[in-house]
C-alpha cells in the first residue's frame, strides 16, 4: 500500500513542478463553459425550465461538469500505449507492483493535483463571470465528493481498457480519440442525459458512461432529489466493480501474447 501512496505523492509533486501550465487550462475550460452558456441561454430563451432544470441550474451543471472533468480526466491510456510501443512495458511488468494499479494511482495523483489547483480556482473564476449557484446543503457536497471519486474510478477503468487494447492493435491513437468523443457525449458532459429522447436514455442506462459526468453533476446542481441520489451512487458503484472483470480478462490475455516491438 505504501508504494502506491508514494506513487500518488510523486505524481502530485511532478504536476506541482509544472503548475504554470495549468493556468491556461483554466482559461480553456472557461472558454468552453462560456460557449455552452451562451448557447443554452439562447436555447432557454424565455422558458423558465427545461426537463426540470432552470437556466441557473443548467449553467451550474455546465460549469461543474467541466471542472469535475479536470479531476477524472487523465491520459493514462496514452501513457500505456506509449509504453507498449516503446517496449518499456516489459520492464514495468517485472517490477514488484501491479502495473495497472500503479497507473491508476498515478492518475489519482494527477487528479488530486488538478482538483486543488485547477478545479477550485477555476470554479471561483467561473462563479464571478456566469450566474452559478452553489448549494448550501453540506450533505449534497458530501454526495458529490463520493460521486466524483466513483466517476474517477469508472473513467480510469475505461482508460485502462483502451490502453490495454494497444497490445492487440499495436497503434491505437484512433481508438483513444474515439473513446474520448464517446465519453464527452454519453457521459453527459456536453448535454444532460435527461435531455435525450427517451429511447436513447434507456440505452444509456445500460452503459457505464453516465456515471462519469451526468450523475455527479446532477447531484451538485440538485437536479437529483431524494432517492435519485442513492440510485445514482449505486449505479456508479456497480459499474466500478463490474468493469474490473473485463480489465482482468484482457490483461491476462494481453500478457500471454505480448510482443515487444522495441526496448
Amino acid at each position: 500500500m505504501a508504494k502506491y501512496m508514494e506513487m500518488i505523492r510523486i505524481r502530485f509533486l511532478m504536476m506541482l513542478a509544472y503548475r504554470t501550465n495549468y493556468y491556461s487550462g483554466i482559461l480553456i475550460y472557461s472558454i468552453n463553459i462560456g460557449a455552452y452558456y451562451f448557447l443554452w441561454s439562447a436555447i432557454y430563451g424565455d422558458k423558465s425550465s427545461i426537463q426540470d432544470l432552470s437556466i441557473v441550474q443548467m449553467t451550474t451543471y455546465i460549469a461543474v461538469s467541466w471542472m469535475a472533468r479536470a479531476f477524472y480526466f487523465n491520459n493514462i491510456d496514452r501513457e500505456i500505449a506509449l509504453e507498449i510501443k516503446e517496449g518499456k512495458v516489459a520492464i514495468e511488468m517485472i517490477r514488484p507492483y501491479n502495473y495497472l494499479g500503479m497507473k491508476m494511482m498515478q492518475g489519482l495523483g494527477e487528479g488530486i493535483f488538478r482538483i486543488l489547483f485547477f478545479s477550485v480556482p477555476g470554479m471561483v473564476i467561473v462563479y464571478f463571470i456566469f450566474p452559478i449557484q452553489f448549494t448550501t446543503h453540506p450533505a449534497t457536497w458530501g454526495y458529490f465528493l463520493i460521486s466524483i471519486l466513483l466517476s474517477f474510478i469508472i473513467n480510469t477503468q475505461i482508460n485502462l481498457l483502451t490502453g490495454i487494447a494497444t497490445f492487440f492493435l499495436f497503434n491505437n491513437d484512433g481508438l483513444i480519440r474515439a473513446k474520448r468523443v464517446v465519453i464527452d457525449l454519453f457521459s453527459g458532459l456536453i448535454l444532460p442525459i435527461s435531455f435525450f429522447p427517451v429511447w436513447a436514455q434507456s440505452v444509456m442506462d445500460y452503459l457505464p458512461f453516465k456515471g462519469i459526468s451526468y450523475i455527479p453533476s446532477m447531484i451538485f446542481t440538485e437536479g437529483f432529489k431524494g432517492n435519485e441520489i442513492l440510485h445514482g451512487l449505486m449505479n456508479q458503484t456497480l459499474w466500478a466493480l463490474v468493469l474490473f472483470i473485463p480489465i482482468q480478462l484482457l490483461w491476462t490475455t494481453a500478457k500471454r501474447q505480448l510482443i515487444v516491438q522495441g526496448g
Binding site: 501550465n21 468552453n32 451562451f38 492493435l169 499495436f170 491505437n172 484512433g174 448535454l191
Partner: protein, 261 residues
C-alpha cells in the same frame, strides 16, 4: 520541380505510410466521423426542446454546421502547425527546413499534412445537401463557384490565425497553451453569432474572425440577406488574415536562431 509536383510526391508518400497501419487509419476516420456526429446530435437533441434559436431553425443550424465542416476539414488536412514550436523550434528541426529549396511554410505543410481529415468535406457536403433539401433551397448555376470561394475564404481565416500564432515561436520558444485555446475559441464560429453578446460578436467578426468560417458564409446559401454583406466579405477577410500571417511568418524566419544541434 514545381510546387505542385512536389505536393503530389509528398501526398503519395504520406498515403504509403498511413496504409501501413490500415486498421488504425480506419479507426481514425471513424473517430472523426464520430466527432462530427456528436456535434450534430447535440444540435438535434437541443432542438427537441426548442423550435427556434435566436431566429434560426434546426435545419439552418444543421446547415451552418455542415458548411463549417468543409473549410475546417481543409484547414485540418494541411495546417497541422499547432505543435510547431515544440517540433520545429525547440528540437532545431527548423534548420533542416531552411535548407530546403521551397518556401519554409510550404515545406512544413507538406511534412505535416493529414489527408484523412479531408473526409470532413464529404460529411459536410452530405449534411448541407440533406438540410438544404429539407429547407427547400434551390441551387443557381453560380452557387458551386461561390461555395468554393467562400470555403477557401473560411479555410484561409483559420490558416491565417494559426500561422500567425505559430510565428510567435520564432521570438519565444517557451511553452504556451495558446493553440488549444484557439481551437476552443474556433468552436464559437459553429453557431450563429447573434446568440452571443456584442463584445464576443465583435471579436468573432474582426479580431479572431471565426464567424467567417461558419455562420456568415452559410447565410448566403440560406438566403438570409441581412447577413449578405458579411458573407461576401469572407474571401476578403480570409486573404487579409492569411496574407498578414505569411508576412509575419517571413519576418519571423529572419529572426530565427537555431536552438538544436
Amino acid at each position: 520541380m514545381s510546387y505542385l509536383s512536389i505536393f503530389f510526391q509528398y501526398a503519395g508518400q504520406y498515403l504509403k505510410t498511413r496504409l501501413t497501419y490500415r486498421a488504425d487509419m480506419l479507426v481514425e476516420i471513424f473517430s472523426d466521423l464520430l466527432f462530427q456526429a456528436v456535434n450534430l446530435i447535440f444540435i438535434l437533441v437541443v432542438f427537441g426542446h426548442t423550435s427556434l434559436l435566436s431566429g434560426w431553425s434546426k435545419d439552418e443550424m444543421v446547415f451552418i454546421y455542415g458548411f463549417f465542416l468543409v473549410p475546417f476539414a481543409i484547414f485540418g488536412a494541411f495546417f497541422n502547425i499547432w505543435d510547431f514550436t515544440d517540433r520545429y523550434i525547440v528540437k532545431g528541426e527548423m534548420d533542416r527546413i531552411l535548407t530546403r529549396p521551397i518556401h519554409s511554410l510550404f515545406q512544413i505543410i507538406l511534412e505535416r499534412m493529414e489527408l484523412e481529415s479531408l473526409f470532413g468535406v464529404i460529411t459536410g457536403l452530405g449534411i448541407m445537401f440533406y438540410s438544404g433539401n429539407k429547407l427547400g433551397l434551390s441551387l443557381h448555376w453560380y452557387d458551386p463557384f461561390v461555395f468554393v470561394v467562400l470555403v477557401a475564404g473560411g479555410a484561409l481565416v483559420y490558416a491565417g490565425i494559426f500561422v500567425a500564432l505559430a510565428s510567435i515561436g520564432f521570438w519565444s520558444d517557451s511553452k504556451t497553451d495558446i493553440m488549444p485555446m484557439m481551437y476552443n475559441i474556433g468552436n464559437y464560429g459553429r453557431y450563429p453569432v447573434n446568440i452571443y453578446n456584442r463584445i464576443i460578436r465583435y471579436v468573432l467578426t474582426w479580431i479572431l474572425p471565426f464567424a467567417f468560417v461558419g455562420v456568415y458564409p452559410s447565410a448566403y446559401f440560406l438566403g438570409r440577406d441581412e447577413w449578405y454583406g458579411y458573407a461576401f466579405l469572407t474571401p476578403v477577410i480570409g486573404l487579409i488574415f492569411f496574407g498578414l500571417s505569411v508576412v509575419l511568418w517571413n519576418y519571423g524566419v529572419t529572426k530565427y536562431r537555431g536552438a538544436g544541434n
